[in-house]
Amino acid sequence: MTAVRNVYIGQEIERTEDFRFLTGRGTFVDDYEPTGLLHAAILRSSVAHGRIRKIDASAAIKMAGVHAVITAADIGEKIPTIPIRLAPIKGLERYLQPVIATEKVRYVGEPIAVVLAETRAIAEDATAEIELEIETLAPVPDWRVAETDSTLLVEQNGTNVATRYAVGSGDADAAFAIADYTRREFFHAHRHTAVPMETRGLVAEWDAANERLVVTGATKVTFFNRRALAAMMQMPESAIDFIEIDVGGGFGVRGEFYPEDFLIPFAARMTRRPVKWIEDRTEHLQAANHSREIDCELEIACRHDGTILALRGRIHGDMGAYTRTNSGVVPAKAAQFLHGPYRIPAVKFDVAAYMTSKTPIGTYRAPGRFEANFFRERLIDMAARDLNIDPVEFRRKNLIATNEMPYSIGKLVPYENESAYDSGDYHVALEKCLAAFGWQEKKNLQGRNIDGRYHGLAVTCFVESGGAGPRENVRMLLERDGRVTVAIGSSVLGQGLETVFAQIAADALELPFEAFRVLHGSTTLLDEGFGTYHSRAVVMGGSAILDGAKNLLSAIRAAASLQFNCRADEVSIDGGKAKGPDGRTLTFAALAAAAGPISANGTFANAQRTFSYGAHAAHVAVDARTGHVAVLDYVAVEDVGRAINPALVHGQTLGAVVQGLGGVFLDHLIYDANAQLLNASLADYLLPTATDFPHIRGVTLELHRSPSNPLGAKGAGEGGMVAVAATAANAVAAALSSFGVQPNDLPLSPPRIWQLLRDAASGRQRAP
């Protein structure tokens, strides 16, 4: 009898996580309440840029129930700074964030003091009793002001310009000099952020007798964060455990090392009490990473027939007040992904990053890609129109062909090697998108006014990277009851990876899905892990499981050989049983009961990125009277290489599209001229609700596996997001083509659209 192979991968299995979430039995960080807890509340700067003249916490400390107040003075001579995890671009390291404000504050929301009290309410009350004097300095509200260096955020650096660099391939200037057609446009992708439903939070417990620290509520990159904290607290890494429990969404923002990730453990060590901090929503909007805010000046050079000859552009990244763990990822990727899925012989991009007196920038799902695709695809639609070429034909003409794979885009990122798209059929993805969308049937609606609503259609193409290295690790343990525990370095932030990893492991070990228990994220599980970001969990973690399973089978063979008195290579394994040369069999459970639990490690190392790709199409109707845009249909098509659980991939796509549409039409962190954040509540910061975008469709393709990992997976979390601004804005432009307006500034909120139409009517041009 041969076991049925590969039965779980590819199936829409119900998630193992769901029972606990549906019954209210999940454990999120605020559900964890050790005894003796102190609650932390953080006093944050209400001033964008200022010099701290006085902090007097004496009244706060006297309040009943207040245990301590921590300010910079309590932390020591040298205030630790938050290290860079990704994208080390020279210059940005001069703006690292101190874990607490010392002489200056540089954004609204910067931590100044931590109050520790018997209840959260008392701690919050006490923050109001801290006497604070801040001398207000001139704000640096945007990159244009930053560039003048009229006010310096960090005086000793002598400039607010953190970095400038140029990247490219081919001779773009020469191409522009001889091109039949060129066009240059200015674009703006606005500041917004991920807003996971669960705000950040931590519980830190200090074991004074053993000088050990346990931090619960960690996620995303727990091993990196532990290393960072160990250095800051001058402790050995092994004396700190980071524990990952249920996490209410991340989308890039949650789980990076923030000031609180030092302050709360520090408070626990100082007070020798467990300390809990749960961020409130206003704090979250002020203090967790913001993202996007990129200005782009982009030029395209083409032949008359629409063949793209070159792209040339400038990226201006507003980094906010400090360089955080993601450093320059956002502007760097905004430049790299301008190339897109097209054959472009020459590109040249100048990138600059500026420090401003706003919340620091980090990654949010599809960082830089959401922006880059918007810039490039908008310009392509304008060029196609100028050249009188159908925008679909224009894309068909320029998409990279399968026989050009792997396709090198050169070295477009200073801290990475040359990149090459790994595999794919970009043309087929476009055609599948057009077919699923019903492009032919809908085409005659393009630009039509039906009862005061102008209809527009657009289709765009994208390529997206995933699977960041360097490694992922797993430990697999055959328990005495015959079940297998999979302990993995990947983190889980709500994606359903406990299910997905069990599917992969079940196929690899030919055991039932129910035999697996997946543990993840916590630093107690393994010596080293790399976490979950950049659509890497399945690519890297899943591939590590394949290696772990192979090694576990070897270990099982070795253990069985002792029971059977034979050589290990004489043991065969079939459907959860080991069989000796004499025909004797032992179930895995019997074997583990006899031999003890059997364990094996697995690892997968890879320096090659995966590249998923696809196309999005949208049909919108714009109400010219109100500026409201209705999304009547939206189709996202992505080749993910391999879908382990297609229902979960589908959920990622739909969720990403709606998040993306929020980013186009709703989400917007609005600052005034004093760099004061105006909408730090969910009443003012708009997120998509169930009535906003009901017509969303996703199509998952598995056309071309990635050659760089044994699963062939390309990652699946971000492809639904990358092309949403590009597609929605092009559809709006198409709808309003009779007015000649160009929606090049996000967000496309009703007042913005209304203003564009009004300006068009009065003949005014938009200033760059």
Binding site: E14, T23, F28, M197, L682
Partner: protein, 164 residues
Amino acid sequence: MSGRATVQFTVNGKHYAADVEPRTTLVDCLRHDLKLTGTHVGCEHGVCGACTVILDGAAVRACLMFAVQAEGADIVTVEGLADGDRLSPLQASFRKHHALQCGFCTPGILTTAHTLLSEEPDADADRIREVLSGNICRCTGYVQIVEAVLDARAAYKQKWAAAL
């Protein structure tokens, strides 16, 4: 701020008495005094709906009520929806349709949808979206949530038919 108040109510069929500050919200009382942590807090200002509980048959935001206002009330939280370890038809439908990812908003969505279908077992997709528009989910894009609620209607219709 000063003083304490005693409040008594029923949660998931069980009687509770809690000694709280008058300013304690219902959701904080449920979570931290009664240790019923299934109900979640997403914004504390009544926008996101994560804290929705069923109070005397109505879906309400437990972050917008003081615990003392719930005196004598009959409250159902997410912990009260299943029959022991057996998922309710609505919960099972959520699992079947993959109508949740991180699960943080799910308790509020379940209590809201349960209240809706208990009153309107024929609710169509538009009506479901309208009612759920007070609950923010950041993961799913709502598509599979609406499918799950639509699919659960049959069980509520049966209950209605049985009650007639």
